[in-house]
Each structure stands twice: as C-alpha cells, then as structure tokens.
Symmetry: C2
Subunit: 227 residues, 2 copies
C-alpha cells in the first residue's frame, strides 16, 4: 500500500522550512566574507576567484564556493566568472565606505553570540534568559558592543543631532547614559561646540568612548557608572 | 564637520545584511519549536501561550516569545493572543502528518552540524573541507542521517517508484547503493512484490534500513559495504 500524501489546496510547500532550517549557513557565510574582506577586495578591482583568493590570502576553491553562495544570497553579482558588488554590498560592506557595517558582526554574529542559542529548547522550557552574560556587571560583551556598533550608529546619531537642532549651538549639558561607543554624545558635540557631554558607562566601555572622542577631535568628560 | 553619508540612487538598504547576519536565530528558533513539538500541540487544540506551555511542558514566557517570533517568520498565525498553524506548518511540522519534516532537523540543524561552521573563515582560507566527519569511514553521522531523513524521502521515493512502473510487478533485482534509510528500495518493494532489493551501506546504517523494512512489512536483503 502506497503512502498517500495529502495535497490540500493551495498546495503546501516545504520551501520556508528548508530555507529557515539552513539559514544559519547564510549568517556564517556572510561573516566569513566580511572577515576575509572580500567586498573590499572587489571594490579594489579583484573580480575572479583567483584574483580574490590572492588579495584575501585564501584558497581559490574556498573563495569560489563562498562567492557563488553570496551570489545566491544576493550579496554579489556574477558574470563570466567575475564577481561584482551589489549597490547594497558596495555601500555597507566595503571597509572604506563611511556606511560600513562589517564591524557589527563582531557583536551580532560572534561565535559567543551564536553559542547562546545552542540550547534554545531548554531556554524556552525553563523560561530563563538566553544571555545571562549581557546583564553581568562589567561584562566584556559591552566592550565588544562598543567597538562593533559605533560605525553602525553614525548615521542615526547624525540624524538625532540634526533633529535636536545641535548645529544652532545652544549651551546644552548632555548626559549620555549607558554611552557605550559614545557616538550619540560625540556627534552632538561635533555639531554643537557649546554642548557639554557627560558619558556614563562601565570603565572598560568608557575607554572605547574616549577613543572615539579622541578620533573625532572632541574633548569629552566621562563618568563611570561606579563613579 | 558632519559625516556625509553617500546616498546613491537607487538608495542602498542594509536590510539584507541584517536579515542575513541574524538568520541563524531563525534556524534555532524553528528547531526549538520542533523539539518542543509546538506545531503538533497547536494541531491538537492548544492555541494560547498558556495552553501551549502546559502541553509542551515549557514556560509560558518562553513559549510566547518563541511563538511571536514564529509568527514573524511566517510559521504561525496570531489572532487575539491565539496562535494557529499555517497550511505549510500543518502539513510539514505536525508529527502525525505523513509529510512530517521535523526529524530532518536532527541532521540538517544539529548542534554538531552547526559547529562545523564555527570556523568558516579559516575553512575558506585553507580550502579544506568543512565536514571531515562526513567522509570518515563508519561515521555515525550517516546513522543520524538515515534516522532523520527517511520521512523526508517518502514522497520522492513514491514518485520514483511510480515513474519506474513498479506497480506493474516486473521481476526486478534492485541494488540500492548507499541505501541509508533504505526508503528508496523499500518503497519499490512495497509497490512491486516481485522486486528483490539488495541494500548496500555501512553496517550501522543498514540497521536503520532494516528497521524501516520491518516497519513497512518488507523482507529485504542487506549487504554491508564491507561484505
């Protein structure tokens, strides 16, 4: 007796299931491409798998397989064995672009971040938090956050400072609570030399904010949360 | 001086980047829902987070968060705090469905399978294989494969046997090389009592094929690859 498969109308498809259950592969493939700086290499004129392998110091076979997958995902184009960037990839994944987002993978898709999901079934059973580490005092995770996410926050910070009318130069006193990378306060200070910024965070995180303040030529006062 | 963000036309979007870099979360969420047998619970009449939590022996908070995410991904519907299955989920993710695909996660999205991707950047650098374990002699991975993927192969096996005209009952001798779960040969034997099937695989894998043959009431001969 043959198994009768139900065929309701409209006919169900397993496509979403397979796409989702394999989706983790797309995260790590994109992360690998960013770590190899593949998109920057393309922007600098490397287009074949061989040229990219030499520029990225990787194997040609590995680069070809990775690039073909990135074409499928929509991050690259391919024409006559030559890979090209999409407009999105050229804007957000080339290291020299002011809108570069690649650093965010150090926080969003780090091996540690992914490990937090290893045991999701148990997490749902118990209702406990997924990432205890995020709320531990002085957690080094927030240092990585500050380093990884500052570039990503440049544009929103610009828009917020503009919306607040920072460029009109009012004598503001700004308290940047949980400042992290410090980009929100720093951007206000850059647009408004009359603003005094006090950044508040854990000491190790504030070191990143201080680096960013120095990088953008802004003198900033910082308060540690303990201080 | 403000940072000028480039705004080419058409305006680039970071949407694909963020969707992809976070995609691993969707794989593990779906896997957790399958392990909790959430879709089966819904098919049996549990619809609120509280009802589902009791039926799946999980925390209500965890179930609610997971279900809401599954609504976003397109695996569930939500109406008045009550969750429902989509046609796809009802067909492929309810354990009692003949087209159930949930077992495939044991192979496609196991923690071991995901760990193989932990170091993808190095894999691309070196050009070495990602999963050495898949080609190791007697690898237990293929036992898991045989157990996980047999349900998934029922429909293709049915279609292949029908295409071959198995039901017409010719005196076939079928060699099922790398038989795995054995479903392809078993399905031919079920449609054609005159077919003699010889399944070939590693001994531990053949045990799964034998179990499946017994389950479907088919007498099958088996040859180990070493034999």
């Amino acid at each position: 007796m043959a198994v009768k498969m139900p065929v309701p109308s409209p006919q169900p498809s397993p496509a979403l299931f397979f796409e989702t259950i394999n989706a983790f592969q797309s995260s790590v493939a994109l992360k690998a491409a960013i770590e190899l700086d593949l998109f920057t290499a393309i922007s600098e004129g490397a287009h074949s798998a061989g040229e990219l392998a030499r520029r990225c110091k990787a194997s040609e076979r590995g680069v070809r397989v990775l690039c073909d997958y990135l074409v499928v995902l929509g991050f690259l184009t391919k024409d006559q064995q030559r890979y090209g960037s999409t407009p999105d990839s050229a804007t957000f994944l080339v290291r020299t672009s002011p809108a570069y987002l690649g650093d965010t993978t150090g926080f969003l898709c780090s091996t540690d971040a992914m490990r937090n999901y290893d045991d999701l079934t148990e997490v749902v059973r118990n209702g406990r938090r997924l990432e205890e580490s995020t709320i531990a005092p002085e957690s080094p995770l927030w240092v990585e956050f500050a380093r990884s996410m500052s570039g990503f926050m440049m544009l929103p910070a610009e828009l917020i400072a503009a919306r607040l009318g920072a460029a009109q130069g009012p004598k503001w006193k700004v308290l940047d609570i949980a400042a992290g990378h410090g980009i929100f306060g720093i951007t206000i200070a850059r647009q408004n030399p009359n603003a005094e910024i006090v950044a508040l965070d854990w000491p190790a995180v504030l070191e990143v904010a201080k680096e960013n303040a120095a990088k953008f030529g802004v003198a900033a006062r910082h308060r540690t949360i303990a201080g």
